[in-house]
């Protein structure tokens, strides 16, 4: 009975809310994860060729970095609103906006990662008869991985938090619940959705950190020797 009352009293923390609206919360969380994963994946797929182009031709590097920085300056509400007439009210608006934001940090970090590959490693690989493609995938990318993963973590965390703004067109994952809760002054819903959103960001960050540790065992060894 005490739990029932917290819904009526509109308290911030309410166990009954989580119990009765479990399905709604799960749906919103799944939509949130879907939008984030989709945006980051597409962002990564676009950022790689862009970074490679920018590295290959200096003339491309300036415009690519400049444009992605300008895109990053556009506030999220404006970004989604500007994309609205292009896609209509659909999830594509939110995903495209988030992809455009992710490019800034991903392209920069991939470039920085590739630039940090020691020239000797490249020379050695070439001396062993590696072609350009094999050099890229087997030597340069693995060595660039720490910087790339750092960018991926920053991008993923900010994408999780920016997804909430998608609520203005109804595709904001947990943001939808926050928006709804704001209109009806439903405190438990706003707080639960906000906490879930932050938790999602932290879980995503830790997962990527774990993946980075697994993928780059050599950085761990080096650190042990140093300390």
């Amino acid at each position: 009975m005490a739990d029932q009352n917290c819904l009526i009293a509109n308290e911030w923390i309410c166990g009954e809310y989580v119990r009765t609206r479990g399905a709604e919360l799960t749906d919103a969380t799944l939509q949130h994860i879907g939008i984030t994963l989709g945006s980051v994946a597409i962002g990564l797929l676009l950022a790689f060729p862009l970074a490679l182009l920018a590295r290959r031709w200096r003339a491309v590097a300036g415009p690519v970095l400049g444009l992605t920085t300008i895109l990053y300056t556009v506030p999220s509400l404006a970004m989604f609103s500007l994309l609205l007439p292009v896609f209509g009210v659909s999830v594509a608006v939110v995903v495209t906006g988030l992809v455009l934001y992710s490019l800034t940090i991903l392209v920069r970090n991939i470039l920085a990662g590739l630039a940090s590959v020691p020239e000797e490693a490249r020379e050695a690989a070439r001396g062993m008869g590696y072609g350009p493609a094999r050099l890229l995938f087997e030597v340069e990318l693995p060595l660039a991985l720490p910087a790339v993963m750092a960018g991926l973590r920053i991008t993923t965390v900010s994408t999780v938090s920016l997804t909430t703004v998608g609520a203005i067109i109804g595709y904001g994952g947990l943001g939808n619940l926050i928006y709804e809760g704001m209109r009806s002054f439903f405190k438990a819903q706003v707080l639960t959705a906000s906490v879930l959103c932050v938790a999602l960001a932290i879980v995503a960050d830790l997962t990527l950190l774990g993946a980075q540790r697994l993928l780059t065992p050599w950085t761990r060894k080096r650190r042990k020797v140093k300390t």
Binding site: A150, V165, V198
Partner: protein, 247 residues
């Protein structure tokens, strides 16, 4: 693209610019909120960052606060503050949210800027008998200036963006033009509002880039060894993994 033409028509219609819901009034609110919150957050964050940076303490705090700021959704904080007891006090929820999100970039960049000052230069200044105050004022601050300004610029753009979001829970500012457009399902108005907001954000960014160049104390003294443009802003720098692990 009829929408772009319609949005342009909306923008050049005089009556949309006047009155309480007009562009001029909303722009005034937006600029006032931005300026006020930027001043408040600088007054809070910069002294702390300069002291911590000078002493070389609290690095984990200065860096992690930036990561935490990224993970917490601005929109959620705005709504939470609105529903809290503060919500009944006019624009205070908005101002607090704006300041909260402006502090991380200010603190992190100013701290990193102070720490990145060449240690040899600091040692030399100490050897010349400079006191702590002189060291900060004459050596560390001028050398850290570009990064401190990067923080101020990032914070300013962040405040402009957050002030836009403040329109969702009913705050003032240019965002209201967008949210009103959504309510009226008037896409040209939504696009026109978005164009105005984007233009304002880019303008603020541009103004701070110019200001940084014009005010740089090292500019008149033969320039810097390496320009600030050669490295990415600290909050995007690829060194993030090292600092993230300070926890």
């Amino acid at each position: 693209m009829g929408v772009i033409g319609d949005a342009w028509t909306w923008l050049v219609t005089g009556e949309h610019w006047s009155g309480a819901d007009g562009v001029w009034h909303r722009l005034g609110q937006h600029l006032f909120l931005t300026a006020a919150c930027l001043v408040i957050s600088c007054a809070i964050a910069l002294p702390i960052a300069l002291v911590l940076g000078h002493l070389g303490r609290g690095g984990a705090l200065a860096v992690n606060i930036s990561n935490a700021g990224r993970a917490v959704p601005t929109f959620a904080v705005l709504v939470l503050l609105l529903l809290s007891p503060l919500g009944t006090h006019g624009s205070w929820p908005t101002i607090i949210a704006l300041v909260l999100f402006a502090i991380p970039p200010l603190l992190t960049n100013a701290y990193v800027g102070m720490r990145e000052v060449d240690r040899d230069v600091v040692e030399a200044a100490r050897g010349m008998g400079m006191s702590g105050r002189q060291l900060v004022g004459r050596v560390e601050l001028p050398l850290a200036f570009p990064l401190i300004m990067t923080g101020v610029r990032t914070a300013a753009v962040q405040v402009v963006a957050t002030a836009t979001l403040a329109a969702l829970p009913g705050g003032g500012g240019l965002g209201r033009i967008i949210t009103a457009g959504f309510r009226l399902t008037d896409t040209p108005q939504v696009v026109a509002g978005a164009v105005l907001v984007a233009a304002l954000a880019l303008l603020v960014e541009g103004v701070f880039v110019v200001l940084t160049k014009a005010l740089d104390p090292m500019r008149r003294r033969g320039g810097r060894a390496r320009g600030p443009a050669e490295r990415p802003p600290a909050d995007q720098a690829p060194t993030a993994p090292k600092s993230l692990e300070l926890t």
